[in-house]
Symmetry: C2
Subunit: 245 residues, 2 copies
């Protein structure tokens, strides 16, 4: 069955989560990198833990809570208002440079986002990047109240698009999301901006494994969860050729 | 209502997960620390992710998969048999030095373990530490097929002990486990072997934040999940006084 729609993960796939580092460094000079890594690592942990506990709270809450955790860990004082202001950096993430070109080239197909972000966060994120006209719809886990990789999320995407699962190509850089999408039966393309070989070279060359490298080691590799992507591609701009093939 | 039973988390609370470092270092000299940290971080991620995906596999499988992930990340070759042998280090974890004394001092109360470990893993773990005679029972998440902090686990502990939740004191060092136990309504004591102040001093003094320190920053602090322990105590041997108070 031919691919009728391409559904993208947002954070880490279309948008660079590392781009909050400018804001964290400006707010806490000398601490930007470690705040950025602890924040993102804990942000995803909280999505998994809250889902597992049956205590869903939207991604805005989780994003503020995980930032508060990171700052508290480092002993950096911040008021709730300062935390909320810094957390807004997640609504202003940089679009990966090749993302617009890739979306434009795929335009004959139906294009959508499926993301952990709350609807207002995703609206701001997509608007500031100027890609709203390229997307048919933006689907949030908030519509089902459980984070990725809860299987209900992927089933919801299928229902929202009204397509058979084999007609949907799901695109993500996140290992847990790839496993969840594949477990549901989507076709899945992994965007691997960092190859395993490149990561190993970095690890071999490093005198010490710093938080940024630890993040890469933990979150930029395929997961061993029993499901793997159908294809691994290096850049979003390789997607049109992949869809045609 | 008086406390009738004390239920302990195993990994990280009664048993030192860092004690696998001797085995990882012996197997891969120069890489012991980073393997140990990646392994434990990923091991818990996989418990959360598999539960969320509805794809439970027992803790032996998760322990081997997460070790395989760590070794593969670092480019360290190992056969499945070698991985299985090294993973057995989790069945030989060191009991924290004060744990036996604490269990003996609490002995008039009913004592149990509630753990992510599979029944065979927990049997070996408890046997090699020689604490089986001090415990009334060992309860595994395997009995319900979902990892902590799934609420069904804590409800299962309550049912297994046949007590009201207020009669159960749950003891853990793991932030996610504390949140899960408290969400269920147990009384909860957090064992804080590392205070926030000590962690901050370590972070302030460190030229670089290495994987061990990153582990402490991510996993040895209370979590922001909406639930906090009733008491935070430094050592297991402080528990008897806490129970009397």
């Amino acid at each position: 069955m031919a691919i009728a729609a391409v559904v993208f993960d947002a954070y880490g796939t279309l948008f660079d989560v590392q781009s909050v580092a400018a804001a964290t460094e400006a707010a806490f000079p000398g601490h930007g990198t470690v705040i950025t890594q602890l924040w993102r690592l804990k942000q995803l942990e909280y999505t998994w833990l809250r889902s597992l506990m049956g205590r869903y709270a939207d991604f805005g809450t989780v994003t503020r809570d995980s930032l508060a955790y990171a700052l508290e860990t480092l002993g950096l004082p911040a008021t709730p208002a300062e935390i909320a202001r810094l957390a807004d950096a997640y609504d202003a993430l940089s679009l990966y440079p090749e993302a617009r070109l890739a979306l434009e080239a795929l335009a004959p197909l139906r294009l959508a986002i499926f993301s952990n972000g709350s609807p207002p966060m995703l609206e701001r994120l997509v608007a500031q990047a100027g890609i709203a006209p390229l997307l048919e719809t933006v689907i949030s886990v908030d519509e089902i109240g459980a984070y990725k990789p809860d299987p209900r999320g992927y089933a919801h995407v299928e229902a929202r698009l009204g397509l058979a699962r084999e007609q949907i190509l799901f695109v993500s850089s996140n290992g847990f999301d790839i496993a969840g999408a594949k477990a549901h039966g989507f076709r899945v393309a992994r965007i691997a901006r960092l190859t395993d070989e490149a990561l190993r070279s970095e690890l071999d060359a490093a005198a010490t494994i710093d938080p940024m490298l630890m993040f890469k080691a933990l979150r930029m590799r395929p997961e061993r969860l029993g499901f793997t992507a159908d294809a691994t591609i290096a850049r979003l701009t390789d997607l049109p050729a992949h869809v045609r093939a």
